[in-house]
Amino acid sequence: MLKSLITLVICSWLLGCASTPSSVSYDPYESYNRINFELNEFLDKNLLKPIANGYVKVAPAPVRGRITNFFENIGYLNIILNDFLQGNVDHGLSGVTRVVFNSTIGIGGLHDVATAMNLPKRNEDFGQTLGVWGVGRGSYWYLPFFGPNTTRNIPNFLISIALSPLTYVGGQTFIATGVNAVNQRANLLRVSDLRDEVAVDVYAFTREAFLQRREFLIYNGNPPIEGIDDILNEDDDLLYEE
């Protein structure tokens, strides 16, 4: 069945050459991205989401929380590196302290003791670093299996894999990656349900939410307000002053 699916996707890509043009300028590969999106949605609906739902039923929230903490802790090196690259030395050093405390007092990262010690979890990656350095976002990509991305964020792919200890555990890499994927999917069940409930074009909704969220993270939750009402200013009737 997997071979048939892959054949179908490749044929769809080839046919995509003659498909309708992109609806927005920053998604020039929209026709291909939509095919990859449908593939991922199919795999999610028929494989990952059912596994995640089953996992939620058997693993209580505190257990899932510990697994989330564990994987976030071992992946934190990427965040520390990018804090330093962005010139956030204090945050980088706090990150080091956070990992040390969570790995020791937090028993191998299972418990997030650092947040209560005023060492909160941060969210950084190399794509955000490039954004801080002024590199443009580039085009939107929707990759098979890996999901939404941008040209600017693709280097982060390779860097995060290289920096993750999971990459170097030999035969256990696949199992550990699988557990992490199921756990992350379980954490996103409510968010994906909301998306499915409100979105009339799920692909476009996912793209816009992803791109806006990336901008939010680049500014560490404090984006500039300039331009925030630009779409209102396109309509002269909405530009009235008191």
């Binding site: 009339v200 074009d201 816009e208 806006q212």
Partner: protein, 202 residues
């Protein structure tokens, strides 16, 4: 010396408190948040909760402006009846989404952070939803001074995702391919799914 510093700090805080208390632009956000807490704590039937929230959304969101913006250049191609139907269906979808998302209370609270002026009749109201066992959720509201004199919400920005611009891009894709009828049908299907979900729960 220390007393002088303390007094200066207190005096600096007073204008900020005054802005918060005297800023009418915050009112629609305050009413919405108070209503959502009520809805979360409310154990009544879903139809009663819907009936409670409907006028709150009606009064505190500028749905005609929202409808106009999210339909973009297609708005002027709608007939007056189609425009009104679009406004009404967006209102229904908003109410249903809020009822569905805020359906149980776990000691959350909304916290006002600050207001920022964007232009004379628009402000950004920054708040967050504080939860007991998870990080807070950033909730910013773009509010504007409607022509009838009231401040109303025109967009909710949750963790950086601007609802207004997201829906405009999404709805314009559907309008381009399927027109007004296609978009209305797609939104109506979402509302119908919510109603089925409520009936299943009961």
């Amino acid at each position: 010396m220390m007393n002088k510093i303390i007094w200066q700090l207190l005096l600096l805080q007073l204008p900020i408190l005054a802005i918060a208390q005297n800023n009418d632009a915050i009112q629609p956000v305050t009413y919405l948040h108070q209503s959502l807490i009520t809805v979360m704590q409310d154990q009544r039937d879903v139809s009663e909760r819907l009936a409670f929230l409907e006028p709150i959304i009606q009064d505190n969101f500028d749905m005609p402006v929202i409808a106009r913006v999210v339909s973009g250049r297609y708005w002027k191609t709608f007939s007056p009846d189609q425009q009104q139907q679009f406004i009404d269906i967006l209102h229904q979808l908003s109410v249903q989404t809020y009822i569905n998302q805020f359906d149980h209370f776990s000691d959350e609270r909304f916290e006002y952070l600050e207001s920022q002026n964007i232009r004379r009749n628009r402000q950004l109201i920054k708040t967050q939803l504080v939860r007991l066992d998870a990080p807070p959720i950033s909730l910013d509201y773009l509010v504007h001074h409607s022509k009838d004199g009231a401040w109303r919400i025109i967009s909710v920005i949750a963790e950086g995702v601007n609802d207004l611009s997201l829906r405009r891009t999404e709805y314009n894709t559907v309008l381009k391919d399927q027109g007004w009828h296609g978009l209305i049908a797609a939104i109506q299907k979402k509302i119908d799914n919510y109603n089925i979900k409520h009936q299943t729960k009961q």
